[in-house]
């Protein structure tokens, strides 16, 4: 059976006993499941690579690897999470070294005490004028705000808030614990909000400092 390095514990389903050579039916099944995800996966690839050509290559590699590993996909399980996981693994193995996004060290994990402390000091959130300020933020600024996040945080925020994956799906895709998903998401969203507020501030909007 073809194993895909780095894919981790992808469970093998009933197609395991079949030859790994794809049948016409397998091609049809794969395309039927995978092609509707193209825009979503391309967007995710673009955010990973920050480059249109690299994003296209990453998506193509992802589909190729997913297709050749399709016999390891267990029917009835979450195909979208499986494809995202293939994308993520492909990116890590092929593209990470070329990544141009400046590295920023992330806090490894967020301890409960840290979060509790932030809860003690955290602000109330955006003030009312900030709705108007948020409306003025453009795509480039949103991208820049994402790019400024530590990659670990950016990934979970993107997967949750743009791609709409559940915590459980994100945990599967990134092969991390649900608690880690939650803590990274919490931190990442908070940092992203701060960055967006900074853009609003640069435009002269009055934005609270106490976030």
């Amino acid at each position: 059976m073809r194993e895909w390095r780095g894919l981790g514990p992808v469970r093998v389903g009933k197609m395991e006993t079949n030859s790994s050579a794809p049948t016409q039916q397998a091609v049809g099944d794969f395309e039927e499941l995978a092609m509707p995800l193209l825009d979503q996966l391309y967007a995710a690839a673009w955010r990973l690579t920050r480059n249109e050509a690299d994003a296209q290559d990453l998506v193509q590699d992802t589909y190729t690897k997913a297709f050749t590993s399709f016999h390891t996909y267990r029917q009835g399980t979450n195909f979208r999470a499986w494809m995202y996981r293939v994308l993520n693994t492909t990116f890590i193995s092929n593209y990470r070294k070329q990544q141009r996004r400046p590295a920023q060290s992330a806090d490894s994990e967020v301890d409960d005490w840290q979060l509790k402390r932030s809860a003690d000091h955290d602000p109330v959130g955006l003030k009312s004028a900030e709705v108007e300020a948020l409306e003025t933020i453009n795509e480039a600024e949103i991208e820049a705000a994402f790019a400024a996040l530590a990659p670990e945080y950016a990934r979970v925020v993107e997967l949750a808030d743009i791609d709409g994956l559940s915590y459980k799906e994100i945990a599967q895709v990134l092969d991390i614990a649900p608690g880690t998903v939650m803590s990274r998401l919490h931190r990442g969203r908070k940092q992203l909000r701060r960055a967006l507020k900074d853009y609003a501030r640069e435009r002269g909007f009055e934005v609270s400092e106490d976030e």
Binding site: P22, V59, Y63, D112, D122, V124, I142, M182, S183, L185
Partner: protein
């Protein structure tokens, strides 16, 4: 918002988790000391917190502004590649 209201403070920090309806999980993993039900009830009474929730929703909407769409031709390119892989593997 009341400075002394613990639920206002909790919602300010965990508004995203509230929108994800994952406050109860946050209580487990992130030391959020409230339940989804408590916060939902609190929102009925607190205009300030309703606004916090509305703004968080607005922020989420904004994030979708920066989502690119797959360029024309990529799907064809992928289908062609899959066909080539299939041909290579089956020898047909």
């Amino acid at each position: 918002m009341s400075e002394n209201c613990p639920l206002c403070r909790i919602l300010a920090v965990f508004v995203s988790e509230y929108l994800d309806t994952s406050i109860d999980a946050a209580s487990q993993y992130l030391d959020c000391q409230a339940s989804q039900t408590q916060l939902r009830q609190h929102l009925l009474e607190c205009a300030h917190c309703r606004e916090v929730v509305a703004r968080e929703q607005k922020l989420r909407e904004l994030l979708h502004r920066a989502v690119p769409v797959a360029p024309a031709g990529l799907e064809v390119r992928i289908r062609r590649t899959i066909t080539m892989v299939k041909t290579t593997q089956t020898g047909r």
